[in-house]
Amino acid sequence: MLNYALNRVLTLVPTLLAASFLVFMFIHLIPGDPASILLGDTATPEEVAELSRELGLDEPLWTQYVLWLGNVLQGDLGTSVFFREPVLSVIADGAETSVLLATMTMFWIVVFGVPIGIISAIRHGSWVDQATSGGAMLFASVPTFWLGLYLILIFSVGLGWFPSSGFPSLADEGGASNLRYLVLPSLTLAAPNAALIIRLIRASMLDVSREDHVRTARAKGLHPVRVAIRHVFRNALIAVSAAFGFTFAALVSEAVVTETVFSLPGIGRLVVQSILRRDYPVIQGVILIIVVFYMAINLLVDLAYASLDPRVSLK
């Protein structure tokens, strides 16, 4: 297992290199000169040229890339043009919000998605199943911003149970109780994803329940619930584990909308703002980190897959 993991990590190196190259090139193809945008309309061409030189923008693109890559390998993602701070610390500021938001979202997805998925598979065709399938369909198709606004309207403006925007750090006054700021955003993010997981668990369990070995399990005289969990769900989990990984990865992009709706100081919002500000070192840094994150999720999914299915050999 460990060997397999190490091997996989090594094979990621060329992929990562290619990805970093694409990220870099892509950002530099965005129209608009960062230096003139930063200085505003009133800047003289001389001032713009001066700043360009300072930022290294006058070098050929490939030189810029090699320099950037060299710095990245040493853990230096550059300096934010807008904040005039190291990119890494700008990202770290947003990371707390985003990581907590993602974790809480995954928590809801597991807590709601897994049991409801199992129940609707066990009771497929019943009114319970029809109600959850209908609900899942609804939540899967509702746009995130719409759901977010409705949750704010009901639970924040109407009932006053949860705050509607912002997120003070856990280190600030209020401590762990500040997590309540993330309840509505995480529910917003969780709803469509939980709906997908419910439908996926239901479909995979129905597939597995038609397999021969389930008939064998029933022939032992096992209770139907035991058959459903230990035999059907356990096998369905192999297919579902991959979806969990990709759901988590997809949260990254969905978080952009949610963080905007709820004015959360997270990475999603940082990306949007940095694009508007042409703060390309930050954009590059965030995208690079997201790429690494995706690859890590991919690796974890493969490892989970291998540990759930003994037929997958770890070569």
Partner: protein
């Protein structure tokens, strides 16, 4: 009193709003320590009959529309699902036609056998593992101490079927239902598995219902034989009576299609055509379109079951070999 006594079993398949009859008026009896063979081509309703006896039709499209299944004096069809499950895997067990897919791919075979034991017996997990080890030895799996921790995909079809047999024997059942247990296996492995079942029967003192489409297999280990065609039993007798006095043209046809062992597996296609599907209505005797002896009465009237001799029942207007 017979160990298993089935009377007038009727099964129907729900298709749309219709209920298509798929097994009709099947009556069978199995005594203690006896082996009953059920033969017939594919699609004749053998598996569904077996699943109905075992209690595995629940939740499928197949309905039990009538009849009774008495096992050790109790009508299984009248039991609650909980009571039914107490019989399944304990006093009655089943093995299937598909050894490659009948074991759960994610659990070690030893754990799967242990689950069958612990479902019905009170013992520690350690004791149950020892019992699983004994069972693997009993079904002649080489190197059981290592094999007990194997996953199904690490075993051959023949070995997996042995594991299935071990699992079925976990609680010393009184009745073993074997639905084409050797059909998916190589010829040499087939022989070994049949031989194994026969020796286990002698050792454990259990009854077997052996389903096969191969009259040759059945003739080797069964005490009596029921021949099924399109959901009905068309001939039933002790094995010796059946082979000395075959009466139904379908049985004769099946005999003609026994693969001859001299020239590998060569099917003598003795019965023209195929089994009609469920929604093809056949007036009169369901076999008449394929029967060499059919005449007008076969086309108009379905023959009822009659005894050509005591304990030899035939469903045919013109039983062969008897008087005429």
């Amino acid at each position: 009193m017979a160990l298993l006594d089935i009377r007038d079993l009727d099964l129907r398949i729900a298709r749309g709003r219709e209920l298509l009859p798929v097994v009709q008026g099947v009556s069978l009896a199995v005594e203690e320590n006896e082996t009953l063979g059920i033969v017939g081509e594919s699609g004749c309703g053998k598996s569904l009959t077996a699943l109905a006896i075992m209690g595995l039709l629940e939740g499928s499209v197949v309905r039990i529309a009538g009849g009774s299944v008495h096992f050790r004096g109790r009508d299984l069809l009248a039991l609650s699902p909980d009571e039914r499950r107490r019989v399944m895997g304990d006093q009655m067990a089943m093995i299937f036609q598909e050894p490659m897919t009948s074991l759960n791919p994610v659990y070690r075979v030893g754990d799967q056998i242990r689950e069958a034991i612990l479902q019905h017996r009170r013992m520690s997990r350690k004791q149950a593992r020892d019992r699983a080890l004994d069972l693997l030895e009993l079904v002649r799996i080489p190197d059981p101490l290592r094999r007990i921790d194997s996953f199904p995909h690490q075993m051959s079809g023949g070995q997996r079927q042995r594991v299935m047999i071990a699992m079925a024997l976990a609680c010393d059942p009184k009745l073993l239902i074997a639905d084409e247990p050797t059909t998916a296996l190589d010829v040499t492995v087939q022989k070994e598995v049949l031989e194994l079942m026969r020796s286990l029967q002698a050792r454990n003192g259990m009854s077997i219902v052996l389903i096969s489409h191969d009259l040759g297999v059945v003739s080797e280990i069964c005490d009596k034989v029921a021949v099924m065609y399109r959901g009905k039993i068309v001939e039933q007798a002790s094995t010796s009576t059946l082979f000395s006095n075959m009466s139904h043209p379908y049985t004769l046809g099946l005999l003609g299609s026994i693969p001859s062992t001299d020239h590998d597996v060569e099917w003598l296609d003795a019965i023209p055509g195929r089994v009609p599907t469920l929604d093809e209505a056949v007036p009169g005797c369901a076999f008449h379109p394929r029967c060499f002896a059919a005449n007008e009465s076969c086309r108009s009237a379905d023959p009822s079951a009659s005894a050509v001799s005591p304990a030899h029942i035939v469903r045919c207007h013109f039983p062969q070999g008897s008087s005429s």
